[in-house]
């Protein structure tokens, strides 16, 4: 039995703030650039070429973006699959961020597809090509976006009077979607790594390995846990909301991340040793540097979270989570772009317009998140004493 009565509640507050206005402007710029791409083609906005047919829109918006959006997946795993009800207060905010991360990731794939009007062919049996890792990723991501919104729907249903009678029915069947919501990310987050296996020698040996699916999945789960910590701490500052009652769970999440990262690094280096590529860690120029930065970032939560005092402090949790998120993001960026070499003469660095689209999509996510948590019952409202509230507001 939980020690205090809890309820989801909208946070309320103003929608038009400096943050939301800046986000809206960035999102509008991105919308304009995407319109330009639709009229003139990918080359008018991006620096994509036939040596680098995939750029930052795939590496960030899809591969890194959906890993950042694994909070809902990670929390569903501990809360519903391992049956740890204590994490329940963290589930809905995590789910919401996942909804936006995945939905906008899915939308940005459409803009990256050269022949987007044929995208529905993925669902046509005669065209389906199950040998393609891309086919599996596409199908899984599409279904998961639906599943995420269904998982989140109780928050919306309770706010729409016409739908309220169905709330009970929805909650009765929700467990099936929770299960799907654990299966689908397991499949596609690992497959995002498998996407690179077929590229063979074109991916540098520091990243090319048959273990890509395992390394991608484990780091995605940890990025999911870390984004929950990140959002809780950041949200407590941004929304002036106490997370006193969530701290014990966040500290335990830090422990999970630490354990996973130890296993991850053992696998990463074990794999390099088995493949006889350990030397590449030091003799691959820029790639060596990028690899080593990754390792330092991944090792940060291991070191930091080994001290109880760091796991119990917002600062310690925040630094560890951010290092984990940056490590996971860099790993993906490296694997998809830095490690890729299709032959001499090809170069790629995203154009300003290309980057503005990526920033605009992040801004849209932040904006929608703020609007939703202010208007819908997403966060838990703990019964707080006047002192708690005063203390929270001062920070």
């Amino acid at each position: 039995m939980a020690p205090f009565h809890q309820e989801h509640e909208p946070l309320g507050g103003k929608l038009v703030t400096k943050t939301t206005v800046v986000c809206a402007i960035l999102a509008l710029i991105a919308a304009f650039l995407l319109a330009k791409r639709m009229v003139l083609g990918l080359g008018s906005v991006t620096n994509l070429n036939n040596g680098f047919p995939w750029g930052i829109w795939i590496a960030y918006d899809v591969v890194i973006g959906t890993a950042f959006a694994c909070g809902g997946y990670a929390m569903a795993l501990v809360c519903y699959i391992l049956n740890k009800g204590e994490y329940h207060p963290l589930v809905r905010p995590a789910l919401l961020a996942s909804c936006f991360g995945y939905t906008l990731g899915g939308v940005s794939i459409l803009f990256d597809l050269g022949r987007w009007w044929n995208a529905w062919h993925i669902l046509v049996p005669q065209y389906m090509q199950p040998n393609s890792v891309m086919f599996e990723v596409a199908l899984c991501v599409m279904s998961y976006i639906l599943v995420l919104w269904i998982e989140f729907s109780p928050a919306i249903v309770s706010k729409v009077p016409a739908l309220r009678p169905h709330k009970r029915k929805l909650e009765k069947t929700l467990f099936v979607f929770v299960a799907l919501g654990c299966l689908l990310p397991t499949m596609h987050q690992s497959s995002l790594g498998t996407l690179l296996v077929v590229l063979g020698y074109q991916i540098h040996p520091l990243w090319q390995t048959p273990l890509l699916p395992v390394l991608f999945l484990s780091s995605a789960i940890c990025m999911g846990f870390s984004i929950v910590v990140f959002e809780a701490v950041l949200g407590s500052a941004g929304f002036k909301r106490s997370i006193k009652h969530e701290m014990p769970q966040l500290a335990k999440i830090a422990r999970i991340v630490q354990g996973f990262m130890v296993a991850y690094l053992v696998l990463r280096f074990g794999d390099l040793i088995v493949r006889g590529e350990l030397g590449a860690v030091f003799n691959s120029g820029l790639r060596s540097l990028m690899f080593l930065i990754e390792i330092v970032l991944f090792a940060t939560p291991i070191v930091l979270f080994s001290k109880q005092s760091n796991r119990d402090s917002r600062k310690g949790l925040f630094i560890g989570a951010v290092a984990m998120l940056l490590g996971g993001a860099l790993y993906r960026l490296d694997a998809f772009l830095v490690a890729y070499d299709t032959g001499p003469g090809w170069h790629y660095f995203p154009s300003v317009s290309e980057l503005m689209v990526t920033f605009g999509i992040i801004a849209a996510e932040v904006l929608l998140y703020i609007v939703f948590v202010r208007k819908l019952p997403v966060f838990y409202t703990h019964k707080l004493t006047a002192e708690d509230l005063a203390a929270a507001h001062e920070k």
């Binding site: 080359g43 994509l48 049956n83 393609s132 299966l183 999970i256």
Partner: protein
Amino acid sequence: MAVNRRDFLKGAAGGGAALATAAVATAPAQARENKPMPPNAVGLLYDSTLCIGCKACVAGCKEANDLPPDFNTAEQLWDTPIDIGPKTFNVIKLYASGTAEHKDQEENGFAFVKKSCMHCVDPSCVSVCPVSAMTKDPQTGIVGYDPDICIGCRYCVLSCPFGVPQAEYDTPTPKIKKCEMCRHRQAEGKIPACAEVCPTGATVFGPIAAIDAEIARRRAMVPGETATFERRTLGSGDVHEKAAPKYLEHVYGEKEVGGTQFRFMSSVEFEKLGMPALRDKSYPSDSEGIQHTLYSGMIAPAVVFAGLVWAAKRASHVEDEHPEE
């Protein structure tokens, strides 16, 4: 909520164990073999020693495939492709070293290179295409493309070990462009344009069996002795005579990534000619091996899903005892 709170260190250790299990599960991933040569496979044989660099094949290909000129000079007066691209399906390149005096010689010599689609026996582009827009003909083995199916994801461009498929970026309706061995001409009983127009038989067309036999015949030639070479197709009877060159034993495309239907003979090492040194095992055999191991009959996902449903049902039951509202 009388759930036994286990020590979370245990959870973390469990995570490690799960990772290790997953790592072992992907280990037998090398299961799939290279795909076999299609029964009625056709191909092209390019012999660098016969090539005179006239680029008739480049012009012939453009005409046969209705491709525009590929300008790379300021005045834009003539077709100057620097490599294959969306407007150019095959090019002739020149290797030159030192004084470049002697044909087909590595030092102080030169040699020609033809680059176009290799028509892999086990092609990456076909394996990665999510919608079957890129296909390998089950009879002829020609790797073809259908823009009406393609979604434009460019995974084929990314995955090809030879960098062959080329996407367009300057149009809102881009297509993937590559050599399809003039399958539209073959449907009319003609042969690929590059072989049709080649004046020296440097590029010849024929069934893979005939190409294999021809490669064996050329390998057995005594360098310097007069030999015969056919033009256009093997068995055309249109023969010319020339002193046999000193071929490399290595014929590019016999084994590379599971073999290709475009074969390449030369006197100069292929790496000098810009051809990548590739292993014998195809890359799709790795990726499909992993996918088929994990998703064979969707049994593993189904079992995992059943477990997840059971666990989620159990957890939702716990919540029922403490309804929120």
